[in-house]
Amino acid sequence: MQPRIRLFPLVLKAILLFVLFNLAFLVINDIPLGKLSLYNSIFPGRERFPFGETRESYNLSLFDLDAMFASHVLTGREKAHDEYRVLLIGDSSVWGTLLTPEQTLAGQLNKSNISACGKTVRAYNLGYPTISLTKDLLILDQAKQYQPDMLIWLTTLEAFPKDKQLTSPIVANNAERVQDLITNYQLPINANDPALVKLSAWEQTFVSQRRAVADLIRLQIYGALWASTGIDQIYPDNYERAQTDLEASDDYHGLDSLNDALALDVLDAGMTIVPDTILVNEPMLISEGRNSDIRYNFFYPRWAYDEYRELLSEHAEARNWQYLDLWDLVLADEFTNSAIHLTPTGERLLANKIAEAIQAECT
């Protein structure tokens, strides 16, 4: 005869276990679960960070930097004695929106098989599709442990405004790390800025964190699709081209001048991390359409961008940085769906310029 099961004690025990599990999750919240990864062991590491909004891209966006790095090929690759390790930091133009991994700047640099200082250059794509210097610094601060020989930091004016520094979701949702950056690099950013998401005890329980846990698991499962297809974003046959007919507005973040409006301290901090760093003002679309006498493109009125170029050039020169101003390197036809997203051809032009700069490093 089967033992009689009593319903209410069973339900009570289930509830108790559920509560305990949630409390335990709260306690172990500091353990970096994201470092546990199937990438670089069962599945090959990703050529760029996970980022995506739809299931068809076999990719997803998450805020766990440990998981992002753990899935990246950089984490799984021991630095060979003849490897000249170059990290590329920047926004979606570096990450490579609408480009396959081979067509991105990193992909093209690797394909060109260049060497520097007697070693073979291996470039790693650490771009991430939001525009903010603080986001770049956040990634760079974690990437420095991977023994880079050189950092190529591609940026654009839109990454500089102080009011944009914490609005990138990955920055806002890594409050503790950003606070560490503020302390370690003495950044003039309010560590208690409400834009930084701080989790209450309840929000750290398993029930509240279930989405984040599910994302971690999904990231691992998508590893199978990355391994089997090599696809990590959607490549539509048709897309809306970057705007060339522009609004007749010269407004830029409501500013009259860029003086004191740019987060140059964040840039200064980042430029100290890797001794050999090349700062690149990335190419952008220069429109010849309607109102192009007022604006260069969707992002920038002419006055703001011209002022930014002058300011950045002076700033770099004063600090003796290696600085490449490649803003007008690529013709308007070689941009895709945004004023900073390049076609494979545009990317190749950029790669050639940057390859020259890398090769010039030890000469």
Partner: protein, 474 residues
């Protein structure tokens, strides 16, 4: 069906099972099921079709009941109560348009009251006419069966569905450019139609007991089994309704275990596997043979856990109200041959086809003495599996899937016959038996998995690409 709908279904079943007995339980199950027919129906691009299609499901249910029931039986109190419950719930849903700011019983706003009244009038006239005819003409039952099959054919054939959508859009003076064959996603109709055909055929054969309208309608649109089966038998179902429910702690636990198992299978295992399971996109994107096999395996397990998960939830939920729905799966992937696989996969559907097609068809063929036995087996198996394929959709891929299994069953039958005659003691050999069993399981599983390559994809050319990749040729 999402988690909220499942959660509300389970809670409703728990409350009905705990608080009601006898006829009150049947009435409440009927009311809940009628409500579920509307609530589970997803939104459709055709205006108010998320109301009209469930209403047609109910109208066809009442029509079938009238056709199978003795004359005048609708005047009995319990049947009038059943009719009042159905009309009351549907009227409430229509009135919710005026009482609630947003629709909660239907995916979109229900139609206006005058449109509903016209529908009631037309449905009432049609039902009266059919009811009247059914007691004077024996062919009426056949007529309803043909009507149900015709509706199924239209729904399952993309071209006919598209034409119907264009027709409806033209009538409603709406643009036809947006018409699609998916415009007529009629939730649960495949199951409803098969339940109705089963009772109609059993009435024709004179083996159907008398059923009251509340019992019959509850059987047809029983909310735990509405969306994904299983396909119960009316006489067995009604016996459960008439039985006294033993709402004990053990029953709740057993039901709860089943529900939780189903939820885990569906929402954890199947939905996870779905991320990497074979689909049209992956058919062309996967680059290597090894990964293609993994993607096909993932689909094989995803479809099993998805479907059997829903079945577990349905069986567990039904158990809460004292209904013991039939099992639909019995570890199908560890069966040593294809016949056993089909005896343990979607069992309620295969039993339906066995009862209403395979057996009668075989009896008919046996009447033709000139036909060789092997030919009758081949045609019987292939025709049955072809129909099962077509039940899923009238497309080339479902036809190929059906034929794949039909021919597979035939070959397995011939192989078994060959073994039985040439090596009658092969099954008795203790050394050979485990090898035959394990080999049979692996072979059967892979045969079924390869069959899913047709089932999972929309086009034969995609399936061909997958086979090329799987076997690394061309």
């Amino acid at each position: 069906m999402g988690l909220i709908q499942l959660g509300v279904s389970i809670l409703t079943a728990l409350l009905i099972g705990a608080l009601t007995r006898d006829t009150l339980r049947t009435y409440l199950l009927l009311a809940s099921s009628v409500l579920a027919v509307y609530w589970f129906q997803p939104a459709l691009p055709l205006r108010s079709f998320d109301f009209w299609l469930p209403s047609l499901s109910l109208a066809l249910t009442i029509l079938t009941w009238l056709v199978i029931s003795p004359s005048g039986v609708w005047r009995l109190r319990q049947n009038l109560t059943g009719l009042s419950i159905i009309l009351g719930v549907v009227t409430l849903i229509v009135l919710s348009r005026y009482l609630l700011p947003d629709p909660i019983f239907t995916a979109t706003t229900p139609p206006q009251i005058f449109q509903y009244l016209i529908f009631l009038l037309l449905a009432g006239l049609a039902l009266s006419a059919f009811g009247w005819m059914s007691h004077r003409h024996t062919w009426t039952i056949s007529g309803v069966i043909i009507l149900l099959i015709l509706i199924l054919v239209v729904l399952k054939t993309p071209m006919f569905s598209l034409q119907t959508s264009i027709f409806v859009r033209t009538l409603a003076n709406r643009p036809i450019e947006n018409a699609a064959f998916t415009d007529l996603r009629w939730l649960g109709f495949s199951y409803i139609a098969f339940r109705l055909i089963h009772v109609l055929r059993d009435r024709q054969m004179g083996r159907l007991p008398e059923l009251s309208l509340p019992e019959f309608a509850t059987y047809v649109v029983f909310f735990p089994a509405l969306a994904a089966g299983p396909i119960d038998r009316a006489e067995r179902f009604s016996q459960d309704l008439r039985k006294d429910v033993s709402f004990t702690q053990e029953e709740i636990l057993l039901a709860g275990q089943r529900v939780f198992l189903g939820l885990f299978k569906k929402f954890v295992v199947a939905d996870t596997l779905a991320l990497i399971a074979l689909n049209d996109a992956l058919a062309t994107q996967v680059r290597t043979t090894g990964w293609m096999w993994i993607i096909v395996y993932a689909y094989a397990f995803q479809i099993y856990f998805d479907f059997s998960g829903y079945t577990d939830i349905a069986i567990g939920t039904a158990r809460l109200v004292g209904v013991k729905l039939p099992e639909n799966f019995a570890a199908p992937y560890i069966k040593p041959n294809l016949t056993q696989f089909w005896n343990s996969w979607h069992m309620s559907l295969t039993q339906w086809f066995r009862a209403y097609f395979f057996n009668p068809f075989n009896r008919w063929m046996r009447g033709h003495k000139s036909l060789p036995a092997w030919f009758m087996i081949l045609i019987g198996q292939a025709a049955t599996m072809l129909l099962i394929g077509l039940w899923h959709g009238i497309t080339f891929n479902f036809i190929f899937w059906g034929l794949w299994h039909g021919v597979g069953l035939f070959l397995q039958n011939r192989w078994s016959e060959f073994l039985r005659t040439r090596y009658p003691n092969a099954g008795q050999d203790n050394r050979l038996r485990p090898i035959l069993t394990i080999g049979g399981i692996l072979l059967t599983f892979h045969f079924v998995a390869l069959g899913w390559v047709f089932f999972a994809l929309s086009d034969p050319s995609l399936s061909w690409q997958v086979f090329q990749k799987l076997f690394n040729f061309l």
